[in-house]
């Protein structure tokens, strides 16, 4: 199968859905001629024109608010927040408006809105351009949170997200844009809300998502050489959480480690861990572990930045610990 980058995969998803449905349009900072800060929307303005590919002012709150208003009145907007680090500025709009209008209004409206953004560490950009804030959003009933790791999932999930009638926060990862992977030429969709076992194994289940998937896969390779078998689940969607797939795996391996890039305290691993405890306590042979980011703002120094997020070695160490090796 052909291999394309995560960036290209996302770009194809945008193009295909905009061709398919003229209610779909894209709006955000520098999404036009510049093609988006990470190049995902390159070529779109040439293809679809200025009306459907709209460069906005640096006004995150109005971007989200306007996306919502358009979604409530017959359009299917995709809005972009350049870095998830800036999403605090429009958190009021996302939490109080986007996520709540449908419920507050007794189900009498729907919000087919995709908020595309980008997060994670790896480019030594410091504390305002390296955050992983997904856990705020799994605490907001009314939205869904999607975080693809592979080009295949990126394309399939973005297409599905655009067709979903619910608001979706779609979080890409800055270190994955250049990563290549197999993506079919023909159309396909990946359902929102389904995790996937990306590697089968028997000794321990690693539950992860986004960039950390690749750290886990590398760790698993190395562990295999040492005779340790690891199963890896890529959540792909964080809300709703596919707890069933997780529990099935944990029932098999009896051990779970959550590997997450965000700050540990109050992070996504806490919720995932609690749900495992609530659903599979009797199957656990050891306490669930979290391999997570440090509880600090992201430091600039490249060495500290690396230290602040899980490494392959951290994962290997945790696996060995949980296995008592």
């Amino acid at each position: 199968m052909r291999e394309i980058t995560y960036r290209q995969a996302l770009n194809e998803a945008l193009v295909e859905e905009m061709e398919r449905d003229e209610r779909v349009f894209l709006m955000g900072e520098d999404v036009g001629p510049y093609g988006g800060a990470y190049g995902v929307s390159k070529g779109l303005i040439e293809k679809f024109g200025e009306e459907r590919v709209r460069d906005t002012a640096i006004s995150e709150a109005a971007i989200i608010g306007a996306g919502l208003g358009a979604a409530m009145t017959g359009m299917r907007p995709i809005v972009e927040i350049m870095y998830i680090d800036f999403i605090g500025i429009c958190m009021g709009q996302i939490n109080n408006q986007v996520a709540k209008v449908r419920y507050m209004f007794g189900g009498k409206t729907k919000v087919p809105l995709v908020i595309r953004t980008e997060g994670g560490t790896g480019r030594t950009l410091g504390a305002h351009h390296s955050q992983s804030l997904e856990s705020w959003f799994i605490h907001i009933p009314g939205i869904k949170v999607v975080m693809p790791a592979t080009p295949y999932d990126a394309k399939g999930l973005l297409k599905t997200s655009i067709r979903d009638d619910n608001p979706i926060l779609f979080i890409e990862h800055k270190m994955l844009y250049n990563r290549k992977g197999e993506v079919p030429e023909s159309e396909y969709l990946v359902p929102v809300g389904e995790a996937e076992v990306k590697r089968e194994g028997s000794g321990v289940t690693l539950i992860t998502y986004s960039q950390m998937l690749f750290y886990c896969l590398e760790a698993a390779e190395e562990l295999e050489k040492q005779g340790i078998s690891v199963e890896i689940i890529d959540l792909r969607t964080l809300l709703p959480l596919d707890i069933q797939t997780i529990v099935e795996s944990v029932k098999k391996t009896n051990r779970a480690i959550i590997v997450e890039e965000d700050c540990k305290t109050g992070g996504t691993g806490a919720e995932i861990g609690m749900q495992i405890m609530e659903n599979a306590f009797d199957h656990l042979d050891a306490p669930i572990k979290r391999v997570a980011g440090a509880d600090v703002p992201m430091p600039k120094s490249p060495n500290l930045e690396k230290l602040a997020i899980p490494s392959k070695e951290d994962i290997i160490k945790a696996v060995k610990e949980i296995l008592g090796k």
Binding site: G65, A66, A70, Q93, Q97, G106, G107, D165, N166
Partner: protein, 319 residues
């Protein structure tokens, strides 16, 4: 006065509906039949009724935390609105929204909002949607003087002006944001100055005079429908009740209240209609008691309606 009797009756009655509706809510609040917060619109009727009366049914509005008046003016049905405020299953939002979240999408009311300034972005996006869909609709976005100090107000006006969106931004200046006067909150007292930052046309009018409101809003509605873009209208008005039930109104004088009540929009309009021989005193009295009955019926409906079933808790969240 260029107004037909039928139309005059419609306007007067709508204003009376709002007034009596609000007085009734106040009564229900005092008796603890209505619970929670309700920000009452009494005193400001000419603004909502005047502005909305020049719209087409498929035009949109966005409303505020003080939204009963907008909802009633935008073809809202009194029983369902009253039921919603009481949190009943028959309410326009099935009892999930309440006073702060009255919305009726089917009537083009994109919703009240518990957050000051919370609807500004939505209105702007609805305007963008109209432009992209190429219809002849437009949006009237209501908000208070206090909301003009919120960041999203500025971001929205800039966006709408830049993209020439069909949105009329209508500021209800009732002199206070909760307890803080415009004078103490805003660097400019003349709020139309805020539109200068966006080269947006703006006008300040008497919000107690329904005909003035209609005339001005119609002008800017036509402007928007002609594709000429957004506008900013400031309607001076006054809320009769306190901000909410617990408000002791220490921040304003009884004289000020008296002054504004002396300019009551309903009385003013009624007098004018009598003077110009369009309506007779008795007809007005008749209207008042018609509305009284409507409100009583709405109240009865609301009070007798059931609360939502427990299962409703998890309904209506996702599509």
């Amino acid at each position: 006065m260029e107004i037909k009797k039928e139309e005059a009756v419609f306007l007067l009655k709508k204003m009376m509906q709002i007034r009596q509706f609000e007085d009734k809510i106040w009564e229900l609040l005092s008796k603890n039949i209505a619970q929670g917060g309700s920000h009452l619109y009494a005193g400001e009727e000419a603004v909502a009724v005047g502005a909305i009366s020049v719209l087409n049914p498929d035009d949109y509005i966005t409303s505020t935390h003080r939204g009963h008046g907008h909802a009633i003016a935008k073809a809202g049905k009194l029983p369902e609105l009253m039921a919603e405020i009481l949190g009943k299953a028959t309410g326009v939002c099935k009892g999930k929204g309440g006073s702060l979240h009255l919305a009726d999408l089917s009537q083009g009311n994109l919703g009240a909002n518990g957050v000051v300034g919370g609807s500004l972005g939505i209105a702007t996006g609805a305007g963008l949607s109209i432009k992209l869909r190429g219809t002849k609709q437009l949006v009237v976005c209501f908000f208070g003087d206090g909301a003009t100090n919120q960041g999203i107000f500025h971001e929205s006006l800039n966006m709408a002006a830049k993209w020439s969106l069909p949105v009329v931004y209508l500021c209800e200046n009732n002199l206070y944001g909760m307890s803080v006067s415009v004078k103490r909150a805003s660097a400019v007292e003349d709020l139309t100055k805020k539109a200068l930052a966006y080269d947006m046309p703006s006008e300040n009018i008497d919000g107690m005079d329904i005909l003035a409101v209609r005339k001005t809003v119609r002008k800017w509605v036509d402007f928007a429908r002609d594709g000429k873009g957004p506008s900013f209208i400031v309607c001076d008005s006054y809320r009769y009740y306190g901000h909410s039930r617990s408000d002791a109104k220490v921040y304003r004088t009884r004289e000020e209240e008296k002054f504004w009540k002396g300019r009551d929009p309903i009385i003013l309009f009624g007098k004018k209609l009598i003077e110009e021989n369009i309506l007779q005193e008795e007809e007005i009295k008749g209207l008042e008691s018609e509305v009284f009955d409507e409100i009583e019926q709405a109240t009865k409906f609301a009070m007798e309606s059931p609360l939502p079933k427990p299962e409703a808790l998890y309904e209506d969240l996702y599509v």
